[in-house]
Amino acid sequence: MNRLLLVILLPLPALAWDSVCYEAGGRSCSPFAGPQTARNRWVGPSDEHRQLFEQTRAQAGLPLSVSDPQTLTVFTTSATVDIGGTPAPTLQPAAFEQTTRAQTRTFTVGELAQLPDFSYALWDWASGHETCPLADGTDATLCHDFASHMGPVNSNHFVPQSQRLYARVHALALARAAECRPLATAVQGRFPEVSRACEVEALALEAMGQHFLQDAWSMGHMWQRWGSSTLEDFPGATVEEKRDKAVLSALVSGFVHGARGVLQALPTWTTYDVNDAMCAPHDDVRFVAKDGLVSHAVGDLYVAQMTAAQKQRFFDCATSGLLQVYQATGMSLGALGQPAQGLSSVDPTSDHCFGQRATNEAIVRGMAIQLKVIGLQTTIPLDARFASWMVPQVARASGKVPVAKKTKNEFRLSLERVTTMARLTAKDDPQGTSLAEGGLGDFMGVSPNGAYASPAAYEDPPLPWGPGGPPRAVTLARVFHVAHAKEWCAATTTAQLDALKAHAQDPLLDATSKTAACAACTELAVRHLRVGTAASWDTNNEPLCQALVPTPAYVYAPGPGTPRALAQQWCCP
């Protein structure tokens, strides 16, 4: 399998409202992809997706506690992962009885609205971005690099694929939320951390899904970009050919979408203001909603300039989706407040929320490069002649090389066709939306994304997530082990509790490993611990598992002491 050298000259911003990753000192995450992004926070300047989610939360009337930082304790091994040449502790969760380290993952639900720009799915995030969900053996950092791997398959950030994906993730969030409600009842206020953890997980899913809803309301995303979320769908006899076409069609899609994120960062462009359509405001850039509403709109990097109609429609949809999920839970995180005035309740998966499309005129504007030079507005049209001058290059192990002549000419002809036919169509019907509806036709044999309907293989697994499930479900259940206490209570046997204890008392463990093993044992054991003996125990102090499942395993420890202290003593005397 050809491995591409990691040649990052620019951390390409995702084709989406902006997402950010910052290290503790305030520097942008470096590398800006892969395991490093799973270890740092996604809060800071230009965190547009997070901002949109927090505004949605506030407008929907969800309690402030939804925005609180959450910290997960993840039990791992002492394995390491390479991050930019330096080994770092793995974040991949281990079987509890193999724990030798304990790591923490801190995040807010709102931050996870950026997840699809860094991760392929929630399970991928839970795995610390340490594997390649594309299953092609690629290095984890490169696999999560936007330009080389995620971008070429991010067609599901554009309509109509984004509609289908949001619908699936929203359904998963609703299903998880529905599991939280009986959980809240079962624990009856004694173990609020469990029902809260469940709700956080459901909201995390919804936040991740709302990324796609948010993108659908970014002007640059209101059209069918070329491509599929699965590399195998791209034309080509080899993986290399498929990847080249995926990379090149993503690059051209970026120009239509709005190229500020790519061009502004080029050293020679920093003195310009690359106010490139369709993301930047432009008099001729509008969308048409399914019900006929026509409005201007803006996109990535311009969230503060969202138009009134764009904001109204978006927040109707986003608050409706978020409220559906939160109301399906037991609302242990707090009571609902009053939603903002003027909002309408809508089906967030419907065409009302995903049917908006860029006008033909807007698409043609998007095909040009707009910039301001010393305050003077300039447009460089991407027409057929401009396209004919292009010399595309793609990365190989030896560096960037021109593509084969045949591929180059296919690229040029395809782009000449697209730009020419778009211009003609826009002149015929400037306010129509045929171009955005797939009317641009194929690009190098790659169809508009509406033609590719299958979900990507890397999406999150269906519920239930628990110890008996497929590997990705197990990963999620291990990372969100408090939220999935019910599943762990049901699956953990007396023998497994004894194995946890034996591991924690293994004399071969070093001090750090022993501390982590004891913590893992304590965390699981306390859920099964009865204070007393098998003959007589404190029935006013039943453990969590007794409330959650009919016949859990029990361990007994005579008091005095709190259940947690007794569990710790039981694990590590």
Binding site: L4, I8, L9, L10, L12, D145, A147, S148, L248, L251, G254, L266, T268, W269, T271, Y272, H282, D283, D284, E361, V364, R365, V373, I374, L376, Q377, T378, T379, I380, P381, D383, A384, R385, F386, A387, S388, W389, M390, V391, P392, Q393, V394, A395, K405, K406, N409, E410, R412, L413, E416, R417, T420, M421, R423, L424, A426, K427, D428, D429, P430
Partner: protein, 162 residues
């Protein structure tokens, strides 16, 4: 600075495309009479040079790069120029593709990339045949210039030669 000033001068001369109708060939509609336009003169001064020649860097990301070589002269650049002559000329309902084809400069050689922008008579004839057979003008143009571009000298070879 010199590059910025030259861009500024060209903008003020109206040589560079402005924001709306001219450079993009006009994307208006409705019943008002509209004039055809010519493809704009492109000034690539904003793009960084690559090496000592005329090649410019358009975009570079971690796994791809696109350069612009305005000195490229081959069948595809000639095709692009022809397509632009037509698409900028097109101004419905008054200036149709047929009238544009009739008004643009016809190529005088079998190597259009050696001449100023032109459209081969063979393409005009192919377009007219398609329309006469019942194909709508836009799909007809798409077919003869891009989908089955055999009317344009050199394009088929450019697509098939490794």
């Amino acid at each position: 600075m010199k590059r910025v000033l030259s861009v500024l001068l060209c903008t003020s001369c109206g040589v560079l495309g402005g924001g709306g109708g001219g450079a993009d060939g006009g994307a208006g509609g409705g019943s008002a009479f509209r004039l055809p336009s010519l493809p704009p003169v492109l000034n690539l001064a904003v793009f960084a040079p690559v090496g000592a020649g005329a090649t410019k860097l358009l975009a570079e990301v971690s796994n791809a790069r696109v350069e612009l070589d305005p000195t490229q002269r081959d069948a595809l650049t000639a095709l692009g120029e022809c397509a632009d002559l037509l698409s900028y000329c097109y101004a419905p309902p008054n200036f149709t593709l047929a009238s544009c084809f009739a008004s643009v400069r016809g190529c005088s050689t079998m190597e259009p990339w050696t001449e100023p922008a032109c459209c081969p008579a063979t393409c005009r004839e192919a377009f007219e045949r398609e329309v006469a057979a019942g194909t709508a003008p836009n799909p007809a143009l798409e077919k003869v210039l891009f989908r089955q571009p055999d009317c344009f000298p050199g394009v088929r070879a450019a697509l098939e030669t490794p």
